[in-house]
């Protein structure tokens, strides 16, 4: 058995079980009377023990075994569960997680003696069966021999459907069979057994002196074998198992594929321009066909990278539970929209900002139980993490029902720095965010205990902006605070509107374009001393692109289109000289020079090969 390969599988499956252990422990802790979680916990720990023993990771198997003893004692009512038990189980799950990681990395460490003792004590005495773990590992090596004349036959082996590491079991079964004869063929092939789609059914052809019964017995020692049947060679062809249509793919490979598709799109765009210029119908036709093929391919590649946000969300319940313990608060943590999907690369980056915001909500948002009760709220605070899908973006919301931001205190701090003439009444949510998202905005000395926001908000803001997303805040004193993170569904390839101003071209991502209208000079008005446009009875702040980018060139034409940008509920009108249509653009990295304005979100190469800047709509609002 190829240990390195199975170590990866062992690690992946153990991690899933450990994650579900954390989940189950959290549920159980909420309602210690309900023992539903106990069964699930027992199964997960038992599975990890089994996998650990199969792999020969005795440290993992032993720790899991001790946990199992405690869970078993709990299950049979020999000991009762209390606060200490939960803490111990959480600790043990963490320790088991470390043991699993170490074992899979090939450096099995020593066991945690204190934890072992604590687990034994909690289970009501030393466990009865430490020795049987060794037996479990050793027992897999036994085999017998027979002296009958060799006889060829086909053997159909079925590994239990709920068995973990079916592939490893199957290979083990083949190896066991080999101890009694010569195996001449295995179907599916040994390599296919290692794949995910292997459903547990395999057939082998072998020569052996042993009886069917002896063979079946030795094969069954591999463990998790549901059935062993001996069949006529004619049935060999029909033994091909049904396949599950899923495989695991290395993320780097998907990244490279995405990059290639991005380059393909740039090339396709250039081909389109050349074909249009050529006045050559067959070339135009071919270019159109390639365009459709590339679009289809792009959609498939993007779809293959989409991953449910639940994968990132699942680590937070445990975080909030630990935080509320440390802070002496009572916090209920709810999650919504776990199945909403995001591009893998965005998902990888979004965990950190969420972590900061959730930690903030628990630390500074939610009040201590007595404070809450004095304010007429329930003693238990609530933090909600929710994902919702919008047109071309996903919104992640972190809300708490805590104290909200104390604008007066915030203003006092800002005023000391001599920066504002606003009053608590006129300080908008945007202003609040601008203050607390300042790098190094300190809560320690002045605002902490009053409103106490800010730590980590600058980090979250920077990360989210780097993803082409936006961060917003809504806060009401005494009622709570909500942070809204809005991120694009996918990075890299963006549908954009090309706009011209003063002879220069700029790309505006369509995700933030609500509509385009004709600029009407009669609709110009003023909003807080700034130019504004009345569009559909709404007064929108207005930006002229040619003024913004300081473009020279010809004077602005009389008829001008206006792009209405929209981020969340905020809208702004962007007046441009002309619109040049839509294009899929690949946002390319480049080293931003010093002084580059915030409204430049990146750059791209247009269909004709010329570079163009991509406008960041969020920075224009």
């Amino acid at each position: 058995m190829d240990v390195a390969k199975y170590a990866a599988l062992f690690l992946a499956e153990s991690r899933e079980h450990l994650s579900s252990c954390n989940q189950l422990l959290l549920e159980w802790e909420q309602d210690p009377a309900a023992a539903d979680a106990l069964g699930g916990l027992f199964r997960s720990i038992h599975t990890i023990k089994g996998m650990g023993a199969t792999m020969g990771f005795t440290g993992v198997a032993e720790l899991a075994h001790r946990m199992e003893n405690l869970l078993d004692a709990l299950r049979h009512g020999l000991v009762t569960v209390d606060v200490g038990t939960f803490q111990l189980l959480f600790q043990a799950v963490d320790a088991l997680g470390r043991a699993v990681e170490d074992a899979a990395a090939g450096r099995e460490g020593g066991s945690d003696a204190a934890l072992t003792v604590a687990l034994e004590a909690a289970a009501g005495g030393p466990p009865e069966g430490v020795a049987d773990v060794a037996t479990l590992v050793e027992g897999k090596r036994q085999h017998r021999r027979s002296t009958d004349a060799p006889r060829g036959r086909s053997v159909l082996i079925v590994i239990r459907g709920d068995a973990v590491m079916r592939g490893a079991r199957a290979i083990l079964a083949v190896r066991r069979a080999e101890t009694l004869g010569v195996v001449s063929a295995v179907r599916p092939s040994l390599a296919q057994l290692e794949r995910e789609e292997f459903d547990g059914r395999l057939a082998i052809r072998m020569e052996s002196r042993a009886s069917d019964e002896e063979l079946a017995a030795i094969i069954r020692t591999a463990g998790e074998v549901e059935a062993v049947r001996f069949e006529e060679p004619s049935s060999w062809a029909t033994a091909e198992p049904e396949r599950h249509r899923q495989i695991r793919i290395d993320l780097d490979r998907l990244d490279r594929l995405m990059k290639q598709v991005g380059e393909l799109i740039v090339a396709k765009n250039q081909l389109g321009v050349m074909a249009a210029r050529s006045d050559d119908p067959p070339l135009t036709e071919l270019s159109d066909r390639i365009t459709r093929l590339v679009s289809g391919m792009q959609a498939e590649v993007i779809a293959s990278r989409m991953t449910p946000v639940g994968e990132v969300f699942e680590r937070f319940p445990r975080l909030v539970r630990d935080l509320s313990r440390d802070l002496g608060k009572r916090i209920r943590f709810d999650v919504e929209g776990e199945d909403i999907e995001l591009d893998r690369s965005i998902l990888d980056e979004i965990g950190d900002p969420l972590l900061h915001l959730i930690r903030n909500a628990a630390d500074h948002g939610i009040e201590a139980p007595d404070v809450r009760q004095q304010a007429g709220k329930s003693a238990e605070g609530r933090i909600l993490l929710a994902a919702t899908r919008e047109r071309n973006s996903v919104t992640l919301r972190v809300s708490d029902d805590g104290r909200g931001i104390d604008r007066a205190a915030l203003l006092a701090k800002v005023r000391r720095e001599g920066q504002s003439d606003a009053t608590p009444e006129t300080l908008s949510d945007d202003d609040v965010l601008r203050v607390i998202a300042r790098p190094g905005f300190s809560t320690a000395a002045t605002v902490s205990g009053v409103s106490g926001r800010g730590v980590g908000v600058d980090v979250a803001m920077t990360r989210v902006r780097a993803l082409g997303g936006t961060l917003e805040i809504r806060s009401e004193a005494g009622r709570g605070t909500t942070f809204l993170i809005r991120v694009p569904l996918t990075l890299a390839i963006v549908r954009a509107l090309l706009a011209e101003a003063g002879g220069e071209r700029y790309a505006v991502p369509l995700a933030y374009v609500a509509e385009t209208v004709e600029f009407d000079p009669r609709a110009v008005t003023a909003l807080r001393n700034r130019e504004a446009l009345v569009v559909r009875e709404q007064v929108l702040p207005t930006v002229h692109l040619r003024d913004l980018v300081n473009a020279g060139g010809r004077p602005a034409p009389a008829r001008r289109p206006t792009v209405i940008l929209e981020v969340g509920e905020r809208r702004t009108a962007l007046v441009v000289d002309a619109l040049l249509g839509q294009q899929d653009i690949v946002v390319a990295p480049f080293d931003a020079p010093r002084g580059m304005p915030p409204y430049v979100g990146g750059a791209t190469i247009l269909a004709d090969g010329a570079p163009a800047l991509v406008l960041d709509a969020a920075a224009l609002l």
């Binding site: 380059e263 740039v266 220069e504 913004l548 980018v549 300081n550 473009a551 390319a588 990295p589 480049f590 080293d591 931003a592 020079p593 010093r594 002084g595 580059m596 304005p597 430049v600 750059a603 190469i605 090969g609 010329a610 570079p611 163009a612 800047l613």
Partner: protein, 120 residues
């Protein structure tokens, strides 16, 4: 120094210093090009074809727009002297000076040249 490219049309970046000419497309990747004339306060001449010298500073690449590439020199250590004050050139940009065939040349300090304008 990495390579020499012909002059390419640059896309202006608003709001940045004059010494940044803009972005150019080099075989599908974007390169920020600096204007050598502005950096070294030299006048532009109509007869110059122009070229872009790609330089590497740290892990980043920049293009340096120049009037023309005259020659490649392999300079023996002893033929160059420590930098000296030269009329019309910011002494901080000069790494060393030398002479070849009776003509003076300057070895530019590329790091110092791009330092004030590259991003963080």
């Amino acid at each position: 120094m990495r390579e020499i490219l012909p002059r390419l049309p640059a896309t202006r970046i608003p709001g940045v210093v004059e010494a940044i000419e803009g972005l150019v497309n080099v075989r599908g990747t974007l390169l920020t090009v600096l204007d050598g004339h502005v950096l070294l306060s030299q006048p532009r001449r109509a007869e110059d074809e122009g070229a872009i010298v790609v330089v590497e500073v740290g892990s980043r690449r920049y293009g340096l727009g120049v009037a023309q590439v005259v020659d490649f020199l392999e300079v023996p250590e002893h033929s160059i002297a420590e930098r000296a004050d030269l009329p019309g050139i910011d002494a901080r940009l000069v790494k060393a000076v030398g002479i070849r065939d009776g003509v003076h040349f300057i070895v530019l300090d590329i790091d110092a040249l791009v330092a004030p304008i590259i991003g963080t």
